[in-house]
C-alpha cells in the first residue's frame, strides 16, 4: 500500500535508480544464473543459446569424442564473416581499384594485412575443419537414427564452403585471381568436351552458355568481378548462414549429438575435469527425487545416483566449453596470420599466364584429375564423389554401434587397411602416369572420347567403388563399406592435393620440390 502513497516523481526516481536491476531482469528473465532453474531458463530464453538444450549429455562435452570440429568450423565461419566485413570497408570491387585497394589494406590500414590474413586463413581453415568434422561424424557412425538428412545438409555446407573460398580468391584481381577465373570458367565450359564428341555443340552448347553466363562475357572482366563479388559477399553468405541454421536446428530435432547405447557412468572418473556434476541436493534436475510406483514396465531404469540420462546443465558446462574453444580458435588464427601472409601476386595481366596456373590448393586435387580430362576431372568425378558421399547414410542403414569411433575395432582395421591400400595404389598409379604418360602420349592421334572414358581418374573411381563393395562383401557389413569408401575419399583428396600443390611445376610437369622449378 505504501507504493501508492509515493508520488509520481518519487516513483520515477526509484525507477531511475532501479534501472540496473530492471534492465538485468528484462534481459535475464529468470534472474541471474545462480540456481539450476535459472541456469536452465537462461539457455531456453536466450535467442542465441536456445538452439542448444538446457541440458547437455556428458558425452557431448568429451573432447575426445567430438574433437570440437564442427564447432571450430562454425567459429571460423564467424571469424571469416567479421574479418571479411572489416576488409570490405576498404576493398573496392572494380578492376581499376580492386588490386590497389587490396595493396592499401596491406600497406596503410592499421592491422590491415593481419586482418586480410585472418580472413584468408580462417576461410581456408573452414575447409579443413568442415572436412575433419565430416570425418568425425562418419567415423563415429553419427549419421544415423534420423540424422541422415542432416548429413545431406552437411554436404551442401561443404560445397558452399568450397565455393565461398573460391569466389574470395578471385576478388583481389591479381594474377592468381585472374588465371583462377580463366581456369574455373573453362571448367564450367568443359561439358563442351562431351557435346563436341556427340556433335551437339552446334545445336546446344551447354558449356559455352554456362561459361558466358558466369563471366558475363567471354573473358574475365569488370562484369565478372561484379558477379563474383555479389556471390562472395551477399548471395553465398546468406545461403550458407541459412543452411548452418538448419544444420544446427536439425541437431536439436534429431536428439542432439550421438551417444553410444552403452554409455555409462564409468565416464564419471575421466569426466571429472570436464563437467560439474549436479549437486545431489536441491535443484530441479537432480536425482534427489521421490519416486512413486506408477506402473510396472520392462526396460532399463536410470541409475539412481545419476542425473537424467547422464546429462549436465548446459549453463555453465557447455557455455564455458564453447567460449574456450572460440578463444582458442581466434588465438590460433591470429597467431598463424601474424606469421604467414596471404598471397598477393602481380596485378592481373591477361596476356601473361601464370606458369603453372594453379587453382587454390583445395582444388589442386581436382586439377590433378583435370590434367587428364577437364570434363571428367572437374565435373563428372567431383559430382559422383559428392553424390557418393551424400548417399552414404542411405546405403548404410545398419543402426547398431552408433556413437562409437569406427564402430569398434573391426572398423578401425578396415580404415587402416583402406588407408594403406589406397595410398599405395594411388601413389603407384600416379607414379605410372608421371613416368609413362597416358593414351595421348602413346597414340597422339587418339580420339578425345577414349580419354574421357578411360583415364586414370575414372579408373581410380572404379577402383574405389570396387574396393568398398569388396569390403562389404568380405565383412558382411555395409557400415564397413561406408568406412572404406570415406577413407578412400580422404586418402584421394589428400594425396591428389599434395601432388597438385607440391609436386607439379611449370607446364604441369613433375618436380620433387619447388626448388627444382626452372626459371622462366
Amino acid at each position: 500500500m505504501s507504493e501508492s502513497l509515493k508520488s509520481g516523481i518519487e516513483q520515477f526516481k526509484d525507477n531511475i535508480f532501479g534501472l540496473k536491476d530492471s534492465l538485468t531482469k528484462s534481459y535475464l528473465r529468470a534472474g541471474k544464473p545462480t540456481s539450476d532453474m535459472s541456469r536452465a531458463a537462461l539457455m531456453v530464453n536466450n535467442f542465441f543459446l536456445h538452439i542448444q538444450g538446457a541440458k547437455t549429455h556428458i558425452n557431448t562435452l568429451r573432447p575426445a569424442y567430438t574433437l570440437g570440429m564442427g564447432l571450430i568450423a562454425f567459429y571460423l565461419f564467424i571469424i571469416t564473416c567479421v574479418s571479411g566485413a572489416l576488409v570490405m570497408i576498404f576493398y573496392n570491387p572494380s578492376i581499376e581499384h580492386a588490386y590497389s585497394t587490396v595493396k592499401d589494406i596491406n600497406y596503410v590500414v592499421f592491422a590491415g594485412r593481419l586482418m586480410r590474413n585472418v580472413h584468408k586463413w580462417s576461410g581456408e581453415g573452414m575447409i579443413v575443419f568442415v572436412l575433419l568434422h565430416m570425418a568425425r561424424v562418419l567415423y563415429t557412425n553419427s549419421y544415423k537414427r534420423g540424422r541422415e538428412f542432416n548429413w545431406l545438409i552437411g554436404i551442401v555446407l561443404l560445397v558452399l564452403t568450397f565455393v565461398l573460398n573460391l569466389t574470395g580468391y578471385m576478388l583481389p584481381w591479381d594474377q592468381l585471381s585472374y588465371w583462377a577465373l580463366v581456369i574455373v570458367s573453362n571448367i564450367i565450359q568443359s561439358p563442351k568436351e562431351l557435346t563436341d564428341i556427340l556433335g551437339l555443340t552446334k545445336f546446344v552448347d551447354i558449356g559455352g552458355i554456362q561459361k558466358e553466363f558466369f563471366l558475363a562475357g567471354t573473358v574475365p572482366g569488370a562484369a565478372t568481378l561484379n558477379r563474383v563479388y555479389f556471390l562472395h559477399i551477399m548471395l553465398l553468405p546468406i545461403i550458407i548462414t541459412t543452411f548452418i541454421g538448419v544444420h544446427f536446428w536439425r541437431i536439436r530435432k534429431d536428439g542432439g549429438l550421438t551417444v553410444p547405447d552403452n554409455f555409462n557412468s564409468s565416464c564419471n572418473v575421466d569426466c571429472g575435469n570436464l563437467v560439474v556434476l549436479p549437486k545431489k541436493t536441491g535443484g530441479i534436475f537432480t536425482t534427489n527425487k521421490t519416486y512413486g510406483l506408477m506402473t510396472m514396465s520392462k526396460g532399463v531404469t536410470p541409475a539412481v545416483d545419476r542425473d537424467v540420462e547422464n546429462t549436465v546443465l548446459s549453463w555453465p558446462n557447455l557455455a564455458i566449453a564453447e567460449a574456450a574453444v572460440f578463444v582458442l580458435c581466434l588465438a590460433a588464427v591470429i597467431v598463424y596470420s601474424i606469421f604467414v601472409d596471404a598471397p598477393l601476386k602481380e596485378a592481373a595481366n591477361a596476356l601473361i599466364p601464370e606458369n603453372p596456373a594453379k587453382a587454390p590448393w583445395y582444388f589442386l586435387g581436382l586439377q590433378e584429375m583435370v590434367s587428364y580430362s577437364a570434363f571428367m576431372g572437374s565435373i563428372v568425378i567431383p559430382m559422383l564423389s559428392v553424390l557418393g558421399l551424400a548417399l552414404i547414410p542411405y546405403l548404410d542403414r545398419d543402426q547398431s554401434d552408433v556413437g562409437i569411433w569406427f564402430s569398434g575395432s573391426a572398423g578401425k582395421k578396415v580404415a587402416i587397411k583402406t588407408l594403406i591400400v589406397g595410398s599405395v595404389c594411388l601413389i603407384g598409379m600416379l607414379a605410372f602416369v608421371v613416368n609413362f604418360g597416358w593414351f595421348r602420349n602413346w597414340w597422339p592421334s587418339i580420339a578425345q572420347i577414349w580419354i574421357i572414358l578411360i583415364n586414370p581418374a575414372n579408373l581410380w573411381l572404379l577402383f574405389v567403388c570396387a574396393w568398398s563393395i569388396w569390403i562389404i562383401k568380405s565383412t558382411g557389413s555395409t557400415r564397413m563399406g561406408a568406412i572404406a569408401l570415406f577413407t578412400m575419399f580422404l586418402v584421394s583428396y589428400l594425396i591428389l592435393t599434395y601432388v597438385g600443390t607440391e609436386l607439379r611445376g611449370p607446364n604441369w610437369e613433375f618436380f620433387w620440390s619447388k626448388a627444382q622449378w626452372p626459371i622462366h
Binding site: 567479421v82 572489416l86 570497408i89 576498404f90 592499401d104 596503410v108 590500414v109 592499421f110 592491422a111 590491415g112 586482418m115 560439474v276 555453465p316 564455458i320 567460449a323 574456450a324 578463444v327 581466434l330 588465438a331 591470429i334
Partner: protein, 155 residues
C-alpha cells in the same frame, strides 16, 4: 568427502573460472579495439591540405588570387600576405567574392572583406589560414591550420 574439502575444491574452481572469464573478456576487448582502430582510414585520397602557392615575389602588394581547386583566397597587401578559406562556415558551400566581401550562394551568408560575418546564418567568420615559408623558398598554405584573423605573413 568432508564439507570443508568440497568448499575449497569449489573455491579453487571458481577462482580459475573467474580468472579465465576475465582474461577471455580482456583478450576479446583487445581484439575489438584493434578492429575498431582498423576501420579508421590512415591515408586520405585527397589533394594535400598543405600546398605550395609559389614564391613570395609572385605576390606583389595588391594581388588578389582565388585558387579554385584549393578553395582559398590569397591577398597581398603592403602589410603582408594572408589567406582566407572560401569554405562557408555555415554548411560548407563555396563563397564567391563580391564588391563588399564574400557571399555564400547556398543560404545567403554574407561576410565582409576580411571574412567577418555580416549577415545570414553563418556562425563564425571565414577562417584565416596559416601561411609559412617552406625550406625550399616557396610559400605554403596549410588549410588545416587556422590563424587569428588579421595575422599577416610578412615577406
Amino acid at each position: 568427502m568432508s564439507s570443508t574439502g568440497e568448499k575449497t575444491e569449489i573455491g579453487r574452481r571458481d577462482f580459475l573460472g573467474v580468472s579465465a572469464i576475465v582474461a577471455g573478456a580482456i583478450a576479446m576487448l583487445s581484439v575489438v579495439a584493434g578492429a575498431l582502430r582498423l576501420t579508421k582510414s590512415n591515408v586520405y585520397y585527397e589533394q594535400s591540405q598543405k600546398f605550395k602557392i609559389g614564391r613570395p615575389e609572385n605576390f606583389p602588394a595588391g594581388t588578389k588570387v582565388k585558387l579554385d581547386e584549393k578553395k582559398v583566397f590569397i591577398f597581398s597587401e603592403n602589410s603582408g600576405l594572408y589567406a582566407i578559406s572560401s569554405i562557408c562556415t555555415h554548411l560548407g558551400c563555396i563563397v564567391s567574392q563580391t564588391d563588399s566581401g564574400f557571399l555564400c550562394p547556398c543560404h545567403g551568408s554574407r561576410y565582409d572583406g576580411i571574412g567577418n560575418v555580416v549577415g545570414g546564418p553563418a556562425p563564425r567568420a571565414l577562417p584565416w589560414l596559416e601561411i609559412s615559408l617552406h625550406e625550399d623558398g616557396n610559400l605554403v598554405v596549410d588549410a588545416s591550420k587556422e590563424v587569428k584573423s588579421g595575422t599577416m605573413f610578412l615577406i
